[in-house]
Symmetry: C2
Subunit: 161 residues, 2 copies
């Protein structure tokens, strides 16, 4: 498996084989859950697929309306529970700035420290690996959120004409 160059433009901002990321990530999720014993039930699996297919941050209610259309659930807790599960398992992340969720393209089972690049123009969000920021001693960090808002390459280069 090839490791991404941390300096390069994230794949999310470039044209890429979309169906491929979906199937890859689903396969990774399946095997992680099999390994850990977590139950990837139909609703949870479908929510993960929806996030992966959307390939952008989706609000809980966006996800819910997809579920509803497919007869998989129509009430907020259904969506929130599935999303909570996925976040707990590291299969999805919550983007605090957007009150939204996005599938993790490379779930690893570990608590990887990730940063999110949020393009304010096109709405695309890229997850990039990141070191935990330097913080004072004497605070026991358990979880770190790093979110950067700005312009992706495409939007910076070709602003809406």
């Amino acid at each position: 498996m090839s490791k991404a160059d941390p300096e390069a433009t994230p794949r999310e901002f470039l044209p890429h084989d979309h169906a491929h990321c979906v199937s890859d990530a689903m396969a990774a999720a399946e095997s992680l859950c099999a390994e850990s014993g977590a139950r990837l039930t139909p609703v949870r699996r479908r929510v993960l697929e929806i996030l992966l297919e959307g390939h952008r941050p989706m609000g809980a209610y966006d996800v819910l309306s997809r579920l509803d259309a497919e007869g998989l659930g129509s009430k907020p807790p259904v969506a929130y529970r599935a999303l909570g599960f996925l976040v707990d398992q590291g299969l999805a992340h919550r983007i605090e700035r957007l009150n939204a969720f996005i599938a993790c393209p490379h779930p690893s089972g570990q608590d990887h420290v990730a940063a999110f690049l949020i393009c304010r123009d096109c709405g695309t969000v890229a997850e990039v690996p990141s070191a935990p920021p330097p913080l004072p001693a004497g605070f026991q960090v358990e979880q770190t959120t790093i979110e950067a808002v700005g312009l992706c390459t495409a939007c910076a280069d070709g602003p809406a004409t």
Copy 2:
């Protein structure tokens, strides 16, 4: 003026002269606004004081109920507008994880990159200076959010007995 040691435990997690931070920050806010021409109106000033006195993150509706009790306004937009102004001026920050706002203890007029340490036990939040995290080239960062959840020294040392 003494510069804080970036390695030391942040003042927020230690006993300190509270009234002093309030008056210092208010004075700094006054002079920044005078300089920039921003209008620190009564409601805005009072909201800043409320945040400073609270010395912890407060929800917009917490602030609003204080305002209401004082006859300064009772409807959500009053609070949100004042808070928006303070955030724009760099006099307060929004803590995304908490949907809450906290006064900036050392407003500078600059867009300083700050990290927030959120104690999940006692709820105290400290603002600490931080470098922007290393991110891939090709994304034009405009604003960065860094929030760490964990345990402050006091709560890690003496867990609820």
